[in-house]
């Protein structure tokens, strides 16, 4: 009769949260560094979902009880088929079974349904937490990591965790319940047959351990080769122009093929070893089944066990083997889940920016008087980035900062905006220490235009309004007008409602820059920062932008970082920086007269 009435589907139809990579296969073979710690942190996320989880567990328990009761009932039915059929009894049993199966399926549906909610809520919270965290991490964090690295943690890693919650957790719970219940049932049916079944157990466990160990080496090797291969493809495709210019294709292909061959060598072994697990377990199951058939047959013939009990026992032995074969797979998945979770928690545990002051100060009528008082800054204690700079800047001044790459020009304005924390000294605006203001308030004082014209996917209107969501239409138009952006926007087919696409390549670089200027003007800042704002446009466009800027800079303290010295000749003061120090300052004429660093920089334009 039915040998395995309750089989959970072993495959995986549930879509992974995302990506189109092969299910699981990719990341197996990773191990978490701090197993216990990570597990505890995951538990923190699971905890609020205790109601849903309790439901899942309760129904899983009930479902397991039913699935364990069923074979016994069938066995009892079989005993009444033989030698004469007892229709009344069998009818009753079958009816009971029907009810049992109905409930079991219902429970199982409830479990999966609830689990979907639990898993998705956990994941949603985790994603939001990471996003929230990203808002509070200091700029340093972003300087030291690639975008791809951060992105992969928020998407791929959280996705791995999501899939794992959705499937493996439930599987694990049911497996444990089933294993326990089935063991009890088998022992009550026949001690001898139970012992026979358990004999297969160490074989199975040993086999799993062996295969897991083997496959770990192969998977790790495969992962390494794949990583190298991806890296190589990324580099070569990224540098395609250069590869072709220097006729490096052949060497590049050769290198690719060598790594590809390594990937193959590890890959097919990993694939093979993992493909063997299932048939082997199946075989072990069959082995136990045959042993039970033979020994049970003898027991039945000699009258020491009924046919029905043998039938039930056979089903139980199948149910017993199945969770064990799953455990191998589940532990693999759980391990990669933990490794993924660990990477996510690493982000969540990064040190945040220092909190805003408890009693923040505000400036009544910001004028834009700025004082740097012996400021020092270093990322890493051995590498000074800013060394003891003192300055005081009058309201309305235009201050240019020049110097070679790596001189610390951008760092200086980043410190002013408190993107980084000073290692020494202090910065005040209108006499108020910037650390005594709320960051949000501080940032409101500044309008910033960067070389990298950052626009997002949305209309031109949305992009300009970015700084000031509740500005009126008039203010919007005024800002665009001042930025000299109005004419070109009007010329676009949809005017202010033109959508800037993802790559922002439907308007020119110079036009983009004008938009970012309008965006900065709209918030009516007291201090303006232009960080290489015109470096990526040609000089004629630059002239246009400068014309727009002169208008904007009137009455505001402005910092202009520039590469092209021609653009800053008219600044009220030029700060010349080199290697984190302020080496000279003064007007263009004064500095030329000095015949120092600035004069050398400036004159080298005309050396031949």
């Amino acid at each position: 009769m039915a040998q395995n009435t309750h089989i959970r589907p072993k495959y995986n139809v549930r879509g992974r949260g995302g990506g189109s990579g092969p299910p699981i296969v990719g990341r197996i073979g990773e191990k978490s560094k701090d197993f216990k710690g990570t597990l505890q942190k995951i538990l923190c996320y699971i905890k609020p979902q205790y109601k849903g989880l309790a439901t899942v567990f309760a129904f899983a328990l009930l479902g397991t009880v039913f699935s364990i009761a069923a074979p016994k009932l069938i066995g009892m039915g079989v005993d009444h088929l033989f030698p004469r059929v007892d229709f009344g009894y069998i009818g009753k049993i079958l009816l009971l079974l029907l009810v049992l199966y109905l409930l079991a399926s219902l429970f199982s549906y409830i479990q999966e349904y609830t689990m979907a909610g639990v898993a998705q809520r956990i994941i949603q919270r985790m994603r939001n937490d990471v996003a929230e965290k990203l808002q509070h991490l200091p700029l340093q964090f972003y300087d030291t990591r690639t975008h791809g690295e951060i992105l992969s943690r928020v998407t791929n890693d959280i996705d791995t965790i999501s899939t794992s919650f959705q499937q493996s957790l439930l599987q694990l719970v049911t497996a444990i319940f089933t294993l326990f219940g089935v063991t009890v049932m088998m022992m009550t049916l026949s001690l001898w047959l139970s012992l026979l079944t358990f004999l297969v157990l160490p074989l199975g466990v040993g086999l799993t351990a062996f295969i897991a160990k083997k496959s770990h080496t192969f998977y790790a090797g495969q992962q390494r080769a794949l990583g190298r291969l991806n890296g190589h493809a990324e580099e070569m495709y990224g540098g395609h122009k250069v590869v072709r210019a220097f006729h490096y294709e052949a060497a590049s292909i050769e290198e690719f093929n060598a790594t590809n061959q390594q990937l193959y060598a590890f890959g097919w072994k990993a694939q093979f070893v993992s493909s063997v697990i299932f048939p082997l377990f199946n075989f072990l199951g069959n082995l136990a089944f045959m042993a039970i058939c033979i020994v049970g047959g003898f027991l039945a013939v000699t009258g020491r066990m009924t046919l029905g009990n043998i039938q039930s026992f056979i089903t139980y032995s199948r149910q017993f083997n199945q969770p064990i074969s799953q455990v191998a797979n589940i532990t693999n998945i759980l391990q990669s889940t933990l490794a993924a979770a660990e990477r996510v928690f690493e982000i969540l545990e990064e040190t945040e920016e220092s909190p805003d002051p408890v009693a923040p100060k505000e400036i009544d009528h910001p004028k834009g008087e700025i004082v740097f008082d012996h400021i020092k800054f270093r990322y890493d204690p051995d590498q000074p980035l800013i060394e003891d700079i003192s300055l005081s800047i009058k309201p309305g001044d235009i201050v240019a900062i020049v110097g070679p790459t790596g001189a610390g020009k951008t760092t200086l304005v980043n410190l002013l905006m408190r993107f980084y924390e000073l290692s020494g000294g202090r910065i005040t605006i209108d006499g108020v220490d910037i650390t005594q203001m709320k960051r949000k308030y501080l940032h409101r004082l500044f309008g910033m235009v960067l070389q990298d014209t950052w626009l997002f996917k949305g209309t031109i209107r949305e992009n300009i309004l970015y700084g000031w969501g509740d500005a009126t239409e008039e203010e919007l138009l005024n800002a665009a007008d001042t930025a000299l952006a109005n004419p070109f926007i009007r010329a676009l087919p949809d005017g202010y409602d033109t959508v800037i696409n993802e790559e922002a390549n439907n308007i020119s670089e110079g036009q983009k820059q004008l938009l970012t200027i309008a965006r900065a003007i709209l918030i009516n800042p007291s201090v303006l920062i232009l960080d290489e704002a015109t470096s990526s446009v040609d000089t004629r466009t630059e002239l246009l932008i400068h014309r727009a800027m002169t208008e904007v800079m009137k009455g505001r303290t402005s910092f202009v970082i520039a590469h092209r010295l021609s653009t800053i000749r008219h600044a009220d003061r030029i700060l010349v920086m080199n290697k984190g120090c302020l080496v000279e300052q003064g007007t263009h004429a004064e500095l030329l007269e000095k015949e120092g660093f600035y004069a050398r920089l400036y004159n080298s334009q005309f050396a031949t």
Partner: protein, 573 residues
């Protein structure tokens, strides 16, 4: 198209399928043997039958596992080998792309296609040999065996099968679009995040942290809602199928009991029949996997095929010219060029000559066509009309390799590769001696900072040159070109990240080095090029003037504008 890469493995595949067939037969035989044990052994109290058939079952099961393991071996080698060949073919194909094809497909998309998509197809090829082919075989085989075991009970199967088939198709059909739109939600979430990462300074400066947070939370909630709907729909599949199967079993037992009583059906046969019924159901459920895997694999293989379908737009001639010596006379003869599918040409009627010993500068606004000019000399693209001649020969008559061997090119966007500084410079000339490398670096003004690095020329460069400043990267990129000592130098606005100091020294050193070569310099800075032998002023794809700095100042309005935007009156003179 990609399946031609399976061809070398056809014998393996044949073998795997044969083994699979044998394995399926063994799977189908086991219940039949069990029926014998019950009917002839247990029922008739004949222990010898039990023993005999028990041993046969063992033999059959052993045969099954052997087939499975050997099949797994060949299937793994086939799938992984196929992946290797496909990947290698794809990479080689892409390596010979001209820029047109690259622009069309996009670098990041090409990377995903070479890695993820191939991996996906490879995985599907494996699953096809193991699971997808097995399920239909088992399905058909089990039906045959079921009918063979008992015709009357088979009628019941006929009643239940449509229900489960309907359920499976219903859920698959409803959930697939859900999963597809879920992918879109994920992309939307990624977009928000990518924008956040690239705009972090602006976001903070404009105090839009809260706004960004809400944008992310909204995208996140949408994704969650979709995932929930999809997963809840799928939650029906398992329990639903199980229920149908279990009800079927109950019905079978009920229907059998009277026939067993009447002696027209043997207990063993009923047990075997139930097993076949379960095998049929299981194979059906396994087949849903085909619905999940196949569309993904199809999408991936389409994406890969799209790459193969791109034939390089620039190709070598059948009988390339191989000149013994190149002097470096470069002529543009009425060249017009447009990017494919572009409405307007990027270059129109360009004619000029450049001779050895000359430095020609190209200046103009963004989008004037300066870079396109250099790209054409390298044959990254082919001209639409007119011709480019090298020493009087159309450059299309050389092989691309021969042509490029005489050119040193420094691109606008610096590209360095992971490896040491030596490795990187030697990309320019593979057999360059240490002496040559050092010389090139000295001229490129790179020796100073290289020697300050802890390992000097053996210092490792991180991927993309992340451990170097922009100016340092540019200087290495220039050194890599210089080490070739070619006849033609092409510099595409590659001095922009250098401070004026270094720029000036570099230009001075270059002058000596390139004394017998043809040099083309694209630049934005007037000061970098005002001493060139001739300056080409470009505007919107046309040459508006050719001449020296002084000549152009007199005659060319655009040049005048450019100059006035950069230099003061007394500097111009």
């Amino acid at each position: 198209m990609i399946f031609k890469y399976l061809k070398p493995f056809r014998f393996f595949i044949l073998l795997t399928l044969t083994l699979l067939f044998v394995q399926v037969v063994t799977d189908l035989l086991l219940p039949a043997f069990m029926a014998r044990i019950v009917n002839q052994g247990i029922a008739l109290h004949d222990t010898s039958v039990i023993f005999r058939y028990g041993l046969r079952m063992l033999g059959v099961a052993l045969g099954g596992i052997a087939c499975s393991v050997i099949g797994g071996f060949f299937a793994s080698r086939t799938a992984t080998g196929f992946g290797r060949e496909l990947r290698s073919g794809l990479f080689t194909h892409i390596s010979h792309f001209a820029l047109e094809e690259f622009n069309r497909l996009g670098t990041s998309s090409l990377i995903t296609r070479t890695t993820n998509d191939v991996q996906q197809v490879q995985f599907t090829v494996f699953m096809a040999q193991r699971v997808m082919m097995r399920s239909p075989l088992i399905f058909v085989g089990a039906i045959v065996m079921a009918v063979h075991t008992d015709r009357h009970l088979s009628l019941m199967l006929l009643a239940f099968l449509p229900i489960v088939v309907f359920l499976v198709f219903f859920i698959s059909k409803r959930s697939l679009p859900l999963f597809r739109s879920m992918q879109k939600k994920i992309d939307a979430l990624n977009l928000v995040l990518r924008e956040h990462l690239s705009g972090i300074r602006i976001i903070r400066a404009f105090s839009r942290v809260g706004y960004e947070k809400r944008r992310f939370a909204a995208a996140n909630r949408q994704l969650m809602e979709h995932a929930l709907r999809a997963n809840r729909l799928l939650a029906l599949l398992g329990p639903g199928t199980m229920l149908i199967m279990n009800v079927l079993i109950i019905v079978i037992i009920w229907a059998s009991s009277s026939r067993i009583d009447a002696g027209t059906l043997q207990i063993g046969d009923m047990m075997a029949f139930i097993q076949y019924a379960m095998q049929i159901f299981m194979s059906l459920m396994m087949m849903t996997m085909i619905f999940v895997l196949l569309p993904r694999a199809m999408a991936s293989s389409e994406r890969i095929n799209a790459v193969f379908a791109q034939q390089p737009t620039v190709s070598d001639p059948d009988h390339p010219v191989t000149p013994t010596q190149i002097t470096g006379n470069l002529t543009f003869d009425d060249v017009t060029f447009r990017y494919q599918q572009a409405e307007n040409p990027s270059l129109q009627h360009i004619s000029f000559r450049a001779c050895p010993g000359e430095t020609i500068a190209v200046i103009g606004g963004t989008g004037a066509g300066k870079s396109a000019l250099l790209d054409l000399i390298l044959r990254y693209y082919d001209v639409e009309r007119g011709a480019i001649l090298l020493d009087g020969q159309n450059i299309r008559q050389f092989s691309q390799e021969t042509l490029r061997a005489h050119i040193a090119y420094v691109p606008q966007h610096t590209v360095l590769f992971s490896g040491t500084i030596y490795d990187n410079i030697r990309k320019g000339k593979q057999d360059a001696t240490d002496e040559e490398v050092r010389h090139a670096c000295a001229i490129a003004q790179a020796s100073e900072f290289i020697e300050q690095m802890p390992d000097g020329y053996d210092s490792e460069i991180a991927q993309g040159g992340k451990n170097l400043s922009g100016g340092e990267k540019q200087r290495l990129s220039i050194a890599r070109a210089l080490v070739r000592k070619p006849k033609i130098y092409l510099f595409d606005d590659c001095f922009s990240a250098l401070d004026y100091h270094t720029d000036a020294r570099l230009r001075m050193a270059l002058k000596e080095e390139t004394i017998t070569s043809t040099v083309l310099v694209v630049a934005q800075r007037v000061s970098s090029i005002m001493h060139a032998d001739r300056i080409l002023v470009m505007d919107q794809g046309r040459i508006t003037g050719i001449g020296t700095h002084d000549q152009l100042l007199q005659t060319n309005d655009i040049y005048k504008e450019i100059v006035h935007s950069q230099l003061t009156e007394d500097e111009i003179a």
